[in-house]
Symmetry: C2
Subunit: 272 residues, 2 copies
């Protein structure tokens, strides 16, 4: 047998026992009671205590779970007092935590008014904000003469009866692609005020009347102003054709009031 | 014609335009969310700010409505965090406020987490405490793996499945006149620990399991200890015959744990 060659082979680095985890994007579905939050969006003014926000609280929990710096980005910047059943958020991390343990691991570091309902690998090219194709909101109106004692942070207490049929006549007129400037609060960060509403309907559910709206996207306070307008129609102050008027004139003053945040729920965000 | 007699007639006081209102006893039916109250019972320790209690808040509202000093006495001294749909209370007042306006008048001076649901004249001899013949409580157990976000102050989150059939087997054994010392927290202000339970049952209601107990009266923490015992039966840790054991031995340590107050609701108080 010939002797093995003596020329040293090039130094091959030893394989690590465990491979370095890959940087991946994760998609979270998050539910929360917005009552005690200053909205979704992080607010950390310099020099003072940061405000308690859902993004801030979730980011802290994810950070502590992953032991690395990262950002948690949400699809919808819900206002203070607004609730969510299916907010969607993303973060990028390199971690060995198995996917099936991810939600529990984050939840164990979250307070009781927020919960990760699902954690999954984001599909290739996923972006929580720009990739959102449809969102659905629900506004809950409490219709009893009694006070909504244990629901008071989750509904709006409506004292006057509402005509759900009339409200649905008005709601149907919202559906489609329109310029919704007249249904929006003033805001300076938008290029276009044209949005597509996929569905808009009013449902009687027990002692509540609920306004359900889904669409490609929403202007600032748009669901709350749509609801305020439908309530005025339901009370008989406006005719259902007020919707056509506001869409045509784009005049905020022709629409109904902005409803308070407490009755509003973000139900889901859909992607392609 | 003879002249009218000149002897002056005795001074008759002029009738007041409105008669002095009669002192009457009123009966109130009161609902509240107990989350932000230190229980029903007034607590006004000397030298410090009084604690926020339902009795204190209702008494202030009644005082301001009636413009007179009075006491509001409740049938049941619910603990901090315990809720009520039908607490019963009384007060004595002389007032011209019509009965049909009484509840609204008091409610207009009450915060949003408490409400007078009914005001009526108490029948003759009525006493809210000693006249109570039956009270019903309901303990709500939330059975989902998800967090009870908007119900978290109104239910107990139960992670383990419960066998409602087994629980009902145990619950039935509570019914009747028994010495409930083993189902009570230590307390020194009672003469007898014998009580009559009229009904005790367990119901599956949506994603909740609810323990319903009505009886002539309850010892301190009795409903919460009964529920804790039934939960242990439902989880399979105790057999249903644990109830007979506790009733026979009167040993608190043989029973289940005291459930937290948040899931407990006082439903009604009945009088003869």
């Amino acid at each position: 047998m010939s002797e093995a060659p003596t020329t040293p082979s090039p130094a091959v680095p030893e394989e690590p026992l465990r491979s370095v985890p890959e940087l991946r994007r994760y998609k979270l579905t998050i539910a929360y009671d917005g009552t005690l939050f200053h909205g979704w969006q992080k607010q950390e003014p310099a020099g003072v205590e940061p405000l308690r926000t859902v993004q801030g609280v979730v980011e802290q929990a994810v950070l502590r779970t992953m032991q690395q710096q990262l950002n948690v980005v949400g699809a919808s910047r819900t206002d203070a007092g607004v609730h969510a059943l299916g907010q969607t958020a993303q973060f990028d991390a390199a971690t060995r935590i198995p996917l099936e343990r991810m939600a529990d691991a984050i939840n164990s570091r979250l307070p009781e008014d927020v919960e990760v309902r699902r954690a999954e690998f984001a599909p290739p090219g996923f972006d929580a904000i720009s990739g959102a194709r449809s969102k659905q909101y629900r506004y809950r109106l409490f219709m009893s003469k009694l006070r909504p004692l244990d629901r008071r942070h989750y509904v709006y207490h409506c004292w006057t009866p509402l005509d759900v049929g009339r409200m649905n006549d008005a709601a149907r007129r919202m559906i489609g692609e329109h310029d919704f400037l007249g249904f929006a609060a003033a805001s300076h960060d938008r290029i276009t005020t044209v949005r597509t509403i996929h569905d808009c309907r009013v449902e009687a559910v027990g002692d509540e009347v609920q306004v359900v709206v889904s669409g490609s996207g929403f202007l600032y306070n748009m669901v709350r102003i749509i609801t305020g307008t439908l309530v005025e129609v339901g009370r008989g102050r406006f005719g259902p054709e007020v919707v056509d008027l506001v869409l045509r004139t784009r005049e905020r003053r022709e629409a109904g009031p902005t409803m308070p945040p407490t009755g509003l729920w973000l139900e889901w965000v859909k992607y392609e």
